[in-house]
């Protein structure tokens, strides 16, 4: 519990320090046709440098495995829709959540819609007939 709060807090500080929590900076990175800002490459590069060093040994020690390994249609379609929303608003999930601290209607509306979108996504993934079986 305490560690989850601490990890979330550190993650959030990283988002603010890096500029990821500023949707304008995110759009300056994605908008390659404008005054391009490559900063976010360094955010991802720095983060992945750390996870690449520690993740595989930790996952092995904790015997954590992943049930999905195939590249399938939901993965590609979902990533495409997520990318469209990201490029439209400049928020991905982490920055949107920590931006709730702005107390802006923009962040509140985005997060509410994101939660609703997740529930719709879950319903759309439910196998046909599973409603009747309940």
């Amino acid at each position: 519990m305490t560690s989850a709060f601490g990890a979330g807090f550190l993650f959030g500080i990283g988002l603010w320090l890096s500029g990821m929590a500023n949707p304008r900076k995110v759009l300056d990175f994605l908008d390659v046709a404008g005054d391009w800002d490559p900063s976010l490459l360094l955010v991802m590069g720095g983060a992945v440098a750390v996870t690449a060093m520690f993740f595989r040994p930790l996952l092995q020690r904790k015997e954590i495995t992943f049930d999905k390994t195939a590249v399938d249609a939901p993965l590609v379609a979902g990533a495409a829709l997520f990318g469209l929303g990201w490029g439209l608003g400049g928020y991905c999930p982490g920055p949107a959540l920590t931006a709730l601290s702005n107390l802006s209607s923009e962040a509140l509306v985005f997060v509410a819609a994101m939660i609703a979108g997740g529930i719709l996504g879950r319903i759309s993934l439910r196998p046909a007939g599973s409603l009747a079986q309940r």
Binding site: G19, R24, D31, L42, V50, F82, G87
Partner: protein
């Protein structure tokens, strides 16, 4: 490249990576923020305590940041209808695609997952298309 902030962005990225390793080491969980959020609204509801604690930490970090860095700039020309549409796409897409910038990006790339590499390539490409169209065609969210 007038707004390039290499040092702050690199250090921020390192902190994000350390936080992800911390959550995996201490809680045995993947720091995929869309998955952590969507899990709060899963049926049946699961392990809500650590998910709520992580998200509370994420939001608390914002308040702490504003204390010393001041309030975040507010965008003028980004209507709430656009915010709702973007949020719906992000929520739906991350749920169906099984991850976002953190789960597929920071964590998935860190364990050399092919699924995550494909997801990152697709959402980056879609994000670039959407940002260019949003700014240069629709003229919103500048």
């Amino acid at each position: 490249m007038a707004n390039f902030t290499p040092v702050a962005s690199l250090i921020g990225g390192l902190l994000i990576g350390i936080a992800s390793v911390w959550l995996l080491a201490a809680n045995g969980r993947i720091a995929g923020i869309s998955g952590i959020l969507h899990g709060l609204f899963a049926q049946p509801p699961g392990d809500r305590a650590w998910r709520g604690a992580f998200i509370a930490g994420l939001i608390a970090a914002g308040f702490a940041w504003h204390l010393f860095a001041g309030p975040a700039p507010v965008r003028e020309n980004f209507g709430l209808g656009w915010a709702a549409a973007a949020g719906l796409l992000v929520g739906f897409g991350t749920r169906v695609g099984g991850g976002c910038t953190s789960g597929h990006g920071v964590c998935g790339l860190g364990r050399f997952s092919l699924r995550s590499l494909v997801a990152v390539a697709v959402f980056m490409a879609a994000g670039i298309v959407a940002a260019v169209v949003t700014r240069h065609v629709l003229g919103v969210a500048s």
